[in-house]
């Protein structure tokens, strides 16, 4: 098992002819991922690393029966690329670029929901199911196969946690980079049911941070629906508060939403184990195993 990707995933790399696209397509192939097609407009007919390149996602699907796509394209072209992949009928689209305009993500989020599809990212390292497949740019050496499902808003905090886990002999079922943006394609709330249903996953690690209310929503869901142990970290307790601007921010968070204290309180009330820092996550996982 594992979630979202595995050995059967047939992946398209959008932007495969670019520097990053080619480099990471090769890394993914070496890891064992089935990269079945590349898409770069105007370069249809070429091959990169033995992978056929198409002008459009739709043609790539028709020719290769691909079922997922990852985008290695700049932020300003991300919206167009994601829409193309969703419109072509892919159920999983992963986008890694930083600095995608929030307004673009607002459209993508609602369009993907209406198509019943899943977008992961932006500003994400991608997804890896260790030992099976990876769709992303993470340095896969630190990951190891096992039973802990991980999802993280921050890439670096996730790497830190994963490398400690692996050094302690604790493997992972699937790790998902939710991404650090204001509107992620998929939130913790969207991903929790997948880990709950996955037989390989025995416990869930959630690496969150201050701001937004994804952790609060996750807490409510966990309380009612998740039977597996959940361990959470909220990073940024001592981060500098954004210099107050206007009153809208304060009005929205008048009930405490968004603060580390509020997130931890709600998660704890839902039975989630709260870790002080990345090292703390590993300590708790060890105890629970």
């Amino acid at each position: 098992m594992s979630v979202l990707i595995d050995k059967n995933t047939r992946l398209i790399v959008q932007g495969i002819t670019g520097r990053e696209g080619t480099f990471h397509a090769e890394q993914m192939l070496q890891y064992g991922t089935q990269v079945v097609a590349g898409v770069t407009t105007g370069k249809g007919g070429q091959t990169v690393l033995g992978v056929p390149v198409f002008d459009t996602v739709k043609e790539a699907i028709e020719a290769t029966n691909a079922n997922a796509s990852i985008l290695f394209v700049p932020a300003k072209h991300t919206a167009a690329g994601v829409y193309e992949a969703l419109d072509a009928g892919l159920e999983l689209v992963i986008t890694i670029a930083e600095h995608v305009p929030v307004k673009d993500m607002m459209g993508i989020y609602h369009f993907s929901k209406s198509k019943n599809c899943r977008v992961i990212g932006p500003n994400s390292f991608g997804i890896i199911s260790p030992g099976k497949a990876k769709a992303g740019f993470m340095s896969h050496k630190i990951f190891s196969e096992g039973n802990v499902g991980v999802m993280s808003r921050s890439a670096t905090n996730c790497y830190e946690t994963i490398s400690m886990m692996t050094n302690n002999g604790i493997g992972q079922s699937t790790c998902i980079g939710v991404g650090g943006d204001m509107i992620p394609g998929s939130t913790f709330l969207d991903l929790l049911p997948l880990f709950e249903q996955d037989e390989q996953t025995k416990m869930i690690v959630m690496i969150g941070e201050i701001g937004g209310n994804e952790e609060e929503l996750a807490a409510e869901y966990i309380k009612e629906n998740i039977t597996k142990p959940v361990i959470a970290l909220i990073a940024g307790k001592n981060a500098p508060k954004g210099k107050s601007m206007g009153h809208a921010g304060a009005i929205v968070s008048a009930d405490g939403t968004g603060s580390a204290e509020n997130k931890e309180k709600m998660l704890a009330a839902a039975g989630v184990h709260i870790a002080e820092n990345t090292a703390g996550i590993v300590e708790i996982v060890k105890k629970l195993l």
């Binding site: 930083e98 607002m106 206007g246 009005i251 820092n277």
Partner: protein, 381 residues
């Protein structure tokens, strides 16, 4: 990117939102000429981004030309709460009956724009949100639907204001939503939204925050950025596409890392160990030795900083590139500041070898926790 008040006013005016007549000055020459189109009494407002501007003396009233000149002479180039006043907005004084509040924000919960409205606007709106949340009304905008009149009917009935305000309020909300979309805003706020005689409403003060990721397609907004005061090191860092964030004044520890999550974790760890972080710098992904050199230089040029923790978990960023950059930077630096380097990930061993070849002021550690312990030890010496 947060607008100055006069910039917000300018954008509102461009989109037809009613504002009072105003001019912006940055010198005392020809004031009479500049205010020719304005009618006294006037309000003189310092263009600085601080809270409590009024109480700090940044908002004053002028009845005539003499008092205006006296106020401007005193205010221009003065320093309010640490911010230099480079620009002053002179605006006609408005006579109102009541103050309302209106904003459109990007709501992270619904992932849609949201209208926030209150009939009780003004400086105490934040307090109202806590003590009397009923007085604040929030309604989503569905982008495929836009602003419709039924929403404004609802706002009016729910807040109990005069039904005669329907048309002007509908007009203002529609226009504010246009602004929100056109400039890739995260927040557009009017507070107070002044109700005057005969159901006229006017935007008296505005706040606008634009999505930094969208600035590439907002050339006009980018022009505004030049007039916004920022710390010299923030601007210097921006040249290299780094994000420099001042944390706590007087903190003597700085952190450089490759990702905001890791920076937050570092600040959490260091604060918990009883030390104070003065500033942090986010390299983003994939920095080369040349860029690392600049990052180290920028950070150590902050005179408050005595200890620098460089914490890299390299995926796209390569550890040997980081180490090379640190080495070059340290050769150019005056001696005496302590630099602790933690490298993990791609090309870690190569990086550590290079760090160890630097003979002074630089320590290599293995792990984030170890790095913070080393920081603590050094500060005790």
């Amino acid at each position: 990117m947060k607008f100055m008040e006069y910039q917000a006013r300018e954008v509102f005016e461009e989109y037809g939102i009613p504002v009072k007549k105003a001019v912006v000055i940055d010198s005392l020459e020809n004031i009479d000429e500049q205010i020719k189109g304005l009618t006294f009494p006037l309000v003189v407002k310092a263009q600085v981004q601080i809270g409590g501007r009024g109480k700090a003396g940044g908002v004053q009233f002028a009845e005539d030309s003499d008092s205006l000149k006296a106020i401007c002479a005193k205010m221009l180039h003065s320093v309010l709460k640490g911010h230099k006043v480079n620009k002053i907005m002179i605006v006609e004084k408005a006579e109102g009956i009541s103050e309302m509040y209106l904003s459109i924000i990007l709501d992270r919960l619904s992932k849609r724009p949201m209208i926030i409205f209150s009939s009780q606007g003004g400086v105490d709106i934040e307090e109202t949100a806590v003590t009397n949340p009923e007085a604040i009304i929030k309604v989503p905008i569905y982008p495929e639907v836009g602003v419709q009149k039924y929403t404004v009917h609802y706002l009016i009935n729910k807040s109990g204001i005069d039904k005669g305000l329907l048309e002007p309020l509908y007009d203002i909300i529609s226009k504010l939503y246009k602004v929100f979309l056109a400039i890739d805003a995260l927040i557009v706020e009017i507070n107070p939204l002044l109700v005057c005689a005969e159901n006229e409403i006017i935007a008296l003060d505005g706040k606008v925050d634009v999505d930094d990721s969208a600035l590439y397609r907002q050339p006009k907004v980018l022009e505004y950025r030049d007039s916004i005061q920022e710390e010299a090191l923030v601007l210097e860092a921006r040249k290299y596409k780094f994000l420099y964030i001042p944390v706590e004044e007087g903190g003597d520890v700085a952190v450089i890392s490759n990702g905001s999550g890791m920076l937050m974790s570092c600040i959490d760890h260091i604060t918990k160990a009883g030390m104070t972080v003065g500033a942090v710098l986010d390299l983003g992904g994939g920095a080369t030795s040349d860029k690392i050199k600049e990052a180290v230089r920028i950070m150590l040029s902050n005179t408050d900083i005595k200890y620098l923790f460089i914490n890299i978990f390299g995926g796209i960023t390569r550890c040997n590139e980081v180490a090379e950059g640190v080495k070059i930077a340290m050769e150019l630096q005056p001696k005496g500041k302590c630099v602790i380097v933690r490298l993990e990930g791609t090309n870690k061993e190569m990086g550590i070898e290079i760090i160890k070849s630097i003979n002074y002021d630089v320590v290599s550690v293995d792990g984030l926790v170890e790095g913070v312990e080393e920081l603590y030890k050094r500060r005790q010496q």
